[in-house]
């Protein structure tokens, strides 16, 4: 019997079905033909590999995907009808315009708007599934049953599906738009490399920007449990924020403002999102620890990983010593000021005595004030030691330094030193002390950072602090300071603040201030005037304002 004959026989009959003669013929051939023997041995080994049982959540996942599909198709049909209607309407309007306004002004000169240099990403519409290649399953009309699906149908969303959406800030420079495109591509690529997640590249939001809270709608239409927003802004930067569509909770997962950061930014965002969705903290912690110790990485990448480790450590003070040592080394020796800054930021709240001398050195000698401010805050854990106390007291009396340009209201050297000196006791008292300290400038007083790193909410600081913040916002000439104050008020429900916030929401020329005012009204939804103003703000020309108003209407306080 030849090769093909043996192959045919073994494929068409099971071992039990072979006749004695056939079995003998097969055995003889295999004994004499090494090629066939090796072929069948390899195949048998392959066939014997174990197959795990399907995971218990697979059924839920399939059910949610099907429900999402049914609803998306139903909407797509309606969308098509509406689209045809709109196109017809637009064509009519265009004809009328041509007839009535032949001398329309050309577009103004200047920097191109975002829309003209949109990132090369797909539109935010549900992707059509590929048609099966086999002719026996050709494309077909949709099944009649799905036409009964209503928009109001609710279904569980797939917790393992994530939609990524780029959100440009209208009117930003060309460079910022391109930055967002790079940021988007990097993050999508890193997320797709993370197993266990279905990542849908939702594209840019601009096509649906006029709808309220479109990111949630898009995610819901696609059956996705989470949505990741990448927000671009000037100066070129990229924020990442992940939200749970069902619970409407959200979390900031990354911020980067320099192109050389994209890679570590992409990695960190992907890791945080994976953790947010898959909850595999132990694996991530191990990966981050390895990244901190990896000398092949840039200083900034290593302290980024340290920062994430620090965020996830159950008790920050117990961060492991190897990681702390890396942070300290980078904080003192790195040529990259951003890495030094982040190193001290990450080590705030950690109380390893090995840190004291390097921190004192940095506070005294670092060339960048923002790095020195973080060193001061990281020294809060040691403020009782005489040397530390002396150094902080001296820094607390410094002439105010220029606040960093990146965002309003980061701590300065002196405000950080004062906070650190107060920080040994109750953190609420320490932060309240900063807000009420009249010898500080308004941006310094509006920082609300705890010595250990995270921000305190204004409602935790009591009524006097809230009134102070309101007064600082009311008297501020600087739009960023005013916007910041209004945003902080988003946790406070004192009705005395409402008139000023309503006025700014309706009339202030700066979109940051209008957005801040919208956030500041979050706790006043019981007031019909507030609700009406927020609903009007959803037609604001600024996307930022529309989004802030949308969150406020949902009762979601600013991050």
């Amino acid at each position: 019997m030849n090769h093909e004959g043996v192959n045919l026989l073994l494929d068409t009959k099971s071992a039990a079905e072979l006749t004695a003669a056939e079995r003998q013929a097969v055995d003889q051939h295999l004994a004499s033909c090494s090629e066939c023997r090796e072929m069948w041995e390899a195949y048998d080994e392959l066939a014997a590999l174990r197959i795990p049982a399907p995971p218990p959540y697979l059924r839920v996942r399939i059910a949610t995907a099907l429900a999402a599909r049914a609803t998306a198709r139903s909407r797509a049909r309606w969308g098509l009808l509406i689209g045809v209607g709109l196109l017809a309407g637009a064509a009519l309007a265009f004809s009328v315009l041509r007839l009535t306004n032949r001398s329309a002004d050309p577009a103004p000169d200047g920097a191109p708007a975002f829309e003209e240099v949109a990132p090369a990403v797909e539109p935010a519409v549900p992707p059509e599934p590929p048609v099966p290649s086999n002719e026996r399953v050709p494309s077909s009309p949709e099944p009649a049953e799905s036409s009964a699906v209503l928009d109001t149908v609710t279904y569980p969303l797939d917790p393992y599906t994530l939609v990524v959406i780029g959100v440009p800030t209208p009117g930003t420079a060309r460079e910022s738009a391109l930055t967002l495109a790079t940021c988007y591509d990097t993050v999508v690529e890193r997320l797709r490399a993370a197993s266990g997640l279905n990542v849908i590249a939702g594209g840019s939001l601009r096509s649906v920007a006029e709808r309220p809270y479109p990111e949630f709608r898009v995610a819901r239409d696609l059956g996705a449990g989470s949505v990741l927003q990448l927000i671009g802004n000037d100066p070129p930067s990229c924020f990442a924020s992940v939200a749970n569509v069902e619970a409407r909770t959200q979390e900031m997962v990354g911020f980067a403002w320099q192109p050389e950061d994209w890679r570590s930014f992409g990695n960190e965002v992907a890791a945080s999102v994976r953790e947010w969705i898959l909850n595999d903290t132990a694996t991530l912690m191990a990966e981050r620890r390895a990244a901190v110790l990896d000398t092949a990485r840039s200083d900034y990448a290593r302290v980024s990983a340290l920062f994430q480790l620090r965020l996830d450590a159950a008790i920050p003070a117990e961060l492991d010593q190897g990681a702390v040592a890396v942070g300290v080394q980078i904080g003192v020796t790195s040529r990259d000021a951003k890495a030094r800054w982040l190193a001290w930021f990450a080590l705030r709240g950690v109380s390893d005595p090995y840190m004291v001398a390097p921190l004192l050195n940095s506070l005294a000698n670092d060339a960048e004030d923002r790095v020195r401010a973080q060193a001061a805050l990281a020294l809060a854990s040691f403020a009782e030691q005489p040397l530390v106390k002396d150094a902080l007291t001296s820094a607390a009396a410094e002439v105010p330094s220029e606040p960093p340009k990146v965002s309003c209201c980061d701590p300065t050297v002196r405000s950080a030193a004062r906070l650190a000196l107060r920080g040994g006791g109750d953190p609420v008292e320490a932060v309240r002390g900063t807000v009420l300290d009249e010898s500080l400038t308004p941006p310094e007083r509006l920082s609300l950072e705890r010595p250990a790193g995270d921000l305190m909410r204004l409602d935790e600081l009591g009524a006097e602090a809230a009134r102070t913040v309101f007064a600082l916002g009311s008297s501020a000439d600087d739009d960023d300071v005013r916007a910041r104050a209004w945003q902080l008020l988003g946790y406070v429900n004192d009705p005395a603040f409402v008139p000023a916030l309503l006025e700014d929401l309706g009339q202030h020329p700066a979109e940051t201030v209008r957005a801040g005012a919208a956030s500041g009204l979050t706790k006043h939804l019981g007031n019909p005037d507030v609700r009406a103003a927020l609903e009007r703000a959803q037609a604001d020309s600024s996307l930022r304002v529309r989004q802030a108003a949308g969150f406020a209407l949902d009762g979601i306080s600013p991050p």
Partner: protein, 181 residues
């Protein structure tokens, strides 16, 4: 959940295990297998009108899965090498208690098989996976749409290629390094 989806779910539910097994054989990792099953179900839902009354649902679903797999280049980005923890199911693991050396050897061997497997073209992988899953050549012919003669010839070539790739893998530097350890 919409009624139509409920009905469809009831139709496919009894076959999800079979779909997952076939998908796992094709993808050789859990995440990709899950993706493939999901895509299969969504495609099948889109094309439910074409399911003939007399046609077995399972065979039809496997056909959709086969097409989805052969089409699917987008799943190739994931790491194909499965971690050991991903493979073993405590209830179904055959070995009652292998020694550490045996476990290590089995793990290395499985990696070799997987590397060879991934060198096969997708169409060949689909045929061997279905065959290894116990489907007869007649059934595979219906699933793939290949005439029996062509199918037999392709199965033969698929096995030949797999054995060749396995041999190459056994001689690869990575394999030699593993053995030397």
């Amino acid at each position: 959940m919409p009624d139509g989806v409920q009905r469809f779910k009831a139709l496919i539910e009894p076959h999800l295990d079979a779909l997952f097994r076939a998908a796992y054989r094709l993808a050789r990792n859990r995440a990709d297998a899950e993706d493939l099953v999901q895509e299969t179900c969504v495609r099948a839902y889109d094309h439910i009108a074409e399911l003939q009354e007399s046609e077995p649902v399972k065979g039809w679903l496997l056909r959709v899965l086969h097409n989805a797999f052969v089409d699917g280049a987008r799943r190739t980005k994931r790491s194909p090498i499965t971690k050991r923890a991903d493979v073993g199911d405590p209830d179904t693991s055959a070995s009652p208690g292998p020694s550490p050396e045996e476990s290590a050897y089995a793990a290395q061997r499985e990696e070799l098989l997987q590397r060879a497997w991934l060198k096969l073209e997708r169409g060949h992988r689909a045929l061997l996976a279905l065959r290894a899953e116990g489907y007869t050549v007649d059934e595979i012919s219906k699933i793939t749409g290949l005439p029996l003669d062509a199918l037999n010839a392709r199965l033969y070539r698929a096995r030949q290629n797999f054995a060749r790739h396995l041999k190459e893998e056994q001689m690869s530097p990575a394999a030699r390094k593993e053995v030397a350890r």
